[in-house]
Symmetry: D2
Subunit: 448 residues, 4 copies
């Protein structure tokens, strides 16, 4: 059976991930993501209203023209988890393929919201939920399986395409977490089986984000322990404490909520995306927040909440807000500029349970945001965080576990591939033979 892989997007950048696997006549697409930083370069762009071709020109969404070189039928579009760089282009591209969108329940829900927000295209693909551990027939001899992985968002999976020639494992976006705060540990047992059953693993597509970092990405429970240390240490403070983190990072939000209660503060989630992700997670029973916990997205309700907090006493609340990257319009930045009813005072604490994404634009915005916060007397706690991506040791372990015939680095540019290429070569792979450093828009023929 012919096996081909189209590396459509995310092979020259982080963002706008998209990959297609053809096994015989059956094609499955993994991810259709957005490169947000390309959008933000342009002032006042509303992606909801833009046409695909313009977004492709901007480098914001995958250029899927290579799909026309791929003979076969698309049987499924499979976003691996709910981050925008993996689902953000679905509303722009999915309608071109007559195939269902298959994803884990939380991811499906986020895709649904994404599609509802779209103003240009009507996306009417079926939305199918499939849990980690489940499988789905794509063709006579081709099957799709979801393996549970751990990442900085819940309900993330790694999809596997089983073919007579071996399995193709799409390994993007995970860390090896044996004690995640929410959900199950990564299913290394199943990966080990896949590495050994039938013809083993034909190809492994790997996320190189942290490939150059030594050691192991710590478990979410390490971040949780760190966060606990921070929040417990200020439990006697009788002024304002504010926290921010990635809105989609439900496990972290959960930890924040719990420690808020431990130190006798009422947690409240504020900001459009805070409400969106946590609300969705709660509705789908992924997380159990306190019954009366407020979540507010619209600016008016947020400001009303802030007024109430000011009235009842800042010392009774822990607002968990958007703005960890210093985004100019996020809640925390507005607080720094004094645009909300919440008055920061000398000694108030602001906890960034997030890392600045290391790019000068973010660094500049975050710096501005911190300066504004400090001018009002706030004290910054930063980097209370661990990454969601494998480091060096995790990569060694995945190779050892899966023993893939071919390896395809992804989710980076060439510079980002470099340490992973070295790592693979130290394990016997050879660039250009069974290790494929590739680019957007390429086809890799694995079996012909």
């Amino acid at each position: 059976m012919e096996i081909e892989i189209a590396t459509i997007g995310g092979y020259e950048e982080v963002g706008r991930q998209m990959t297609a696997v053809r096994a015989g006549d059956d094609v499955v697409i993994f991810d259709m993501g957005l490169n947000l930083s390309k959008v933000l370069l342009h002032d006042n762009v509303e992606t909801e209203k833009l046409h695909s071709l313009d977004l492709i020109d901007m480098g914001a969404i995958p250029d899927d023209r290579v799909m026309s070189d791929l003979e076969g039928d698309v049987k499924a579009i499979v976003p691996t988890h709910g981050h925008l760089d993996h689902i953000g282009a679905i509303s722009k591209l999915a309608h071109r393929y007559s195939a269902p969108i298959v994803a884990s329940p939380f991811t499906i829900e986020l895709v649904k919201q994404q599609i509802q927000g779209e103003e240009k295209f009507g996306v009417e693909n079926d939305l199918m939920k499939m849990e980690a551990g489940e499988t789905m027939q794509l063709g006579d001899e081709v099957e799709l399986e979801f393996v549970n992985v751990t990442h900085s968002i819940i309900d993330a999976i790694n999809p596997v395409v089983h073919t007579p020639e071996g399995a193709i494992v799409y390994g993007l976006d995970k860390r090896m977490d044996y004690s995640p705060v929410l959900g199950d540990p990564i299913d290394m047992k199943r990966f080990r089986e896949i590495g050994r059953e039938g013809n083993g693993v034909l190809a492994y597509i790997e996320d190189c984000t942290n490939a150059g970092r030594k050691g192991r990405t710590p478990s979410e429970s390490v971040a949780r322990r760190h966060l606990k240390d921070v929040l417990y240490s200020v439990q006697d403070y009788d002024g304002g404490i504010v926290a921010t983190t990635f809105s989609s990072h439900i496990a972290r939000v959960k930890s924040l909520v719990e420690f808020a209660q431990d130190i006798d503060r009422t947690p409240v989630l504020l900001g459009r995306s805070m409400e969106k992700y946590s609300g969705t997670a709660e509705r789908l029973n992924f997380v159990d927040f306190p019954e009366d916990m407020g979540m507010f997205g619209h600016r008016k309700s947020v400001d009303r909440t802030f007024k109430r907090i000011m009235k009842e006493g800042k010392e009774n609340y822990l607002p968990i807000v958007t703005g960890h990257q210093g985004e100019p319009r996020a809640m925390l930045t507005r607080m720094g500029r004094g645009e909300t009813p919440y008055q920061l005072e000398d000694g108030d604490k602001v906890v960034f349970s997030a890392r600045v994404i290391p790019e000068p634009t973010n660094e500049g915005q975050r710096y501005q945001s911190e300066r504004l916060l400090k001018m009002q007397g706030a004290r910054i706690f930063d980097d209370v965080h661990v990454s969601g991506h494998l480091r060096e040791e995790g990569h060694y372990e995945m190779l050892d576990t899966l023993q893939p015939q071919h390896v395809i680095p992804a989710h980076q540019n060439m510079k980002g591939y470099a340490p992973y290429v070295d790592l693979c070569e130290s394990q016997g792979y050879r660039l250009g033979r069974d290790l494929h450093a590739t680019r957007n828009g390429n086809l890799i023929q694995l079996v012909d």
Copy 2:
């Protein structure tokens, strides 16, 4: 009563700490430390054999000539904890003063060993043990008290001199740890009392090492949780695992030992200073190591142990060795160069539970050491560590707790003082009035 402070060493550098406080006729000296990096600049220097004046000229030990301007009798020499930058010059300078050396039990023991190693001077000062919480009369109206603090070595204290004019608190080398792995939490309650009793705090001398870092130094228990994550993650590995950390960091060594056992490996401590510090701590009952745990310092016994490990299987052991900074003669560096019987193999793990001290010399040596280790196939886990020094938020809290009339930054150069000066000014202090950025060899008259 006249109160004067002599800032003798460690006010232009990290290292060779020494400060004297005169209250009326009674003088107490805090710390007599060594600046090791000044020694290492010179090849083949053996400090044991050098005269004080040469070491002063090299900038390696405090220049205590300002002591002759200080009228009064030295009543006690008080090292605050057992790190070399606080006790390393005792053997070179203490004999000039006819006063006992007063310190916590663990510190006294290390001072004793320091004196025994000295080849140039006979130091015969009395060695007196005093526990945290205890006090000692220095003069009619002057009393010395030890307050328990938490640092990266056990049995650290902050000494306080009580005078009719108020207390002088010598605050060097601590973090605010409420859940240390060994010993009691920092005694903030007592600091709060000292800040409020009698005339309050006249002067506070503060360690500025991390003054420019945002937020709070995490508890040792956060490092422990991180370390656990690392070691548990490799529990199925059937080859060599080696760890290194600061030898004097008994709490960390204890965590390493315990997690070694958890993953079914016999811990063994190797290297001269590993044996020294851990042996001393165990003898004094500060820590309870497994009865049969080996500790070996002499190269011959170390190599014999390595031979045994190779014979019985590396997978059964976890050697905890010296060499976290890539010191050329330390055990781990020797292992990297293949100079020991321990054979590193592809995939073996080396855990640095330490941070590179950020200075180009260390960075160069550590880099060389890691390259050698990697050439043999080792995989590096680094930065499994937290600092022992207060960051920004701890400094705010100490000022709030003690409410000192005068503040004296220490344990840094002018550049290192800078963020602490800003911090104090944000709390109402004013440089040159009640905030004293000073230099080695100065006298500060607080009450005349």
Copy 3:
């Protein structure tokens, strides 16, 4: 005679410089500057319309309240050169003092324009021109002298106040340039005389911007040679070449203009501040630009010029534009966003004859600007520049030349002072004795 120095602004930051010297009853004020970055933190602030007190609160202009503690009459307000951090607050503060503004001709002209732009206050102080080398009587025994120095703007001077107790030299903002491209070399001969005549130098106030950088700041002629290398290397290119630099840096603009002609391109200056500074310099005969060289400030005329360039061929022009820091509204940034009629094409060259001011906000904006330019195919040449501030070796030389009794570091925060303090101490000064690390709002009594 009593001598006092008030360190009003620029002693905790770079920006909003202001210092007053009192000699007996005569007071002279040096600089009244603006801290632009404080203004930019706030959206949509128009400084022209703001009241002094609001600007003081923002930290944008000097807080001159300490002036009320200074007995004596202000006899002159002396801006040392035309940069905004030295003259930008004159329109907000000068009217409070009934004294003339005395400055070199180019600086006076810029002050005049500054005052004309002011919308809140009517500043009616006399404007007096005084050339380098000239003197002016301030009181019976007190005289003001201007010494010629070299900086990144023309007609910069260091003012000296001669008193019976010795000279006070205000040394801000210079480099030691013996072959500047415009104007005379620094007058080290006069400094040497001042160091030796009468009672010598009582106090020297020094600019610490580059105190921590090794060696010597290169001459402007080194930057010119570098720039020549860059522009000559692209002389065969037949597309667009664009250059940007500090608008006030007339010597650099002159070099750009000359090399443009050498490679057969018509230079044209575009952008509001380009027109302002170069126009002023030309009108005052400081520089001789080609007679027909265009300078356009208003957006309309700029765009008209761009249209003409596009029509007549980009290969015939070298636009010299604003935007070297990536300022969002500057000309080059607009070109990057495609908002001007000038079309960048693949291979076009953009020369940044400037350095990014090392602060995350600028770095972020400049990064954005470069990304936009590159997306259109432009190729960036950066850092074709030398600083206008003394490095280490210049500081040594000034101390040796003036042999001041007292030294007062300025133009930095405490961290920026640190290397200069070390340097002075290596030359025998002592912090707190004759070396005064001070803060905004202090009075230093030198003779009483």
Copy 4:
């Protein structure tokens, strides 16, 4: 005609360069270099005494086993210039090939010395001089040509193999210098012709060292202008001035010598490699040093010279010495440690006309060296230097000039290739099609 390229060494590192080109039956080898940093990892290694296989195992010299897969006869071994990473393995590997070593006159001389120093192998290959601009027949239809280029060593060339299928240009180690201080400008005219004659350029092998740096590498004349500024600025200093640079950088040494004379100091070259390179260059008439200028290599004569300098007055001399990277045994480091008769005093100047090679080992050593020099009062001038390797703009220009069908990045690891890959792709090349990011030990079949 079959055309193959073997990428033997320097495709995963900087150092141990070696590449072979086969055109039909004729093979030519470019470079046989040493990776010095691999040697220095090991203590006390003397490469002169080591066997090739051990050096290959250490990664110190190219692993040329792939040569056995290359059918055809080696007709010439062509080192492109005299740096060790290009000629340092000749004494270990050349004897395996019965072919002459063909190089420019200066390079040949250095190869000869290299061979004479070898203690393990007898290398007896013919040494043939060939000038830039000359050609040599390798086979019936295959010709070798040398094109003059500019680099940080004199007499550097880029070899070109002319075949019926087009030219293969080996482009390692050059900058585009139109006003070099010694020798002719780069011969871009000839490159342009080669790009257009016959079948044009089949393949171009490019040095990626600085591919990620914006703009253009400045001409050596820019470094010269900078150096002049530094040395002229200290012409009135009446103490010691010492300079250091790359010994093989004859143009820089020449500038140092000339400026020494301009400021009335006698230049003298000290250190083994200073004598070697400059002596060779003078003997071959590449440079014209003052007749009586001393050059001393042996430690005894160096020390004798230092004694004479001390006696006759340091103010009369400018020693130009080895040690720019802080190498522990180099002359300047010995001076820093006070091991030579030359006494540094407070205020003496040390000029590093070199850049620290950015690797932690060098950075650590250089830092140590500077600290030692400063402890003796020396003042450091650093980075008076420009690189010898093309930056971004030079790469664009070479592609435009040669218009090669295939491009092969070299002289870097994968991370170093990354920006060059991006650059080539922006010019229409495509990774894996006509852009070959390869590794040591590969064969690339261009025509079969």
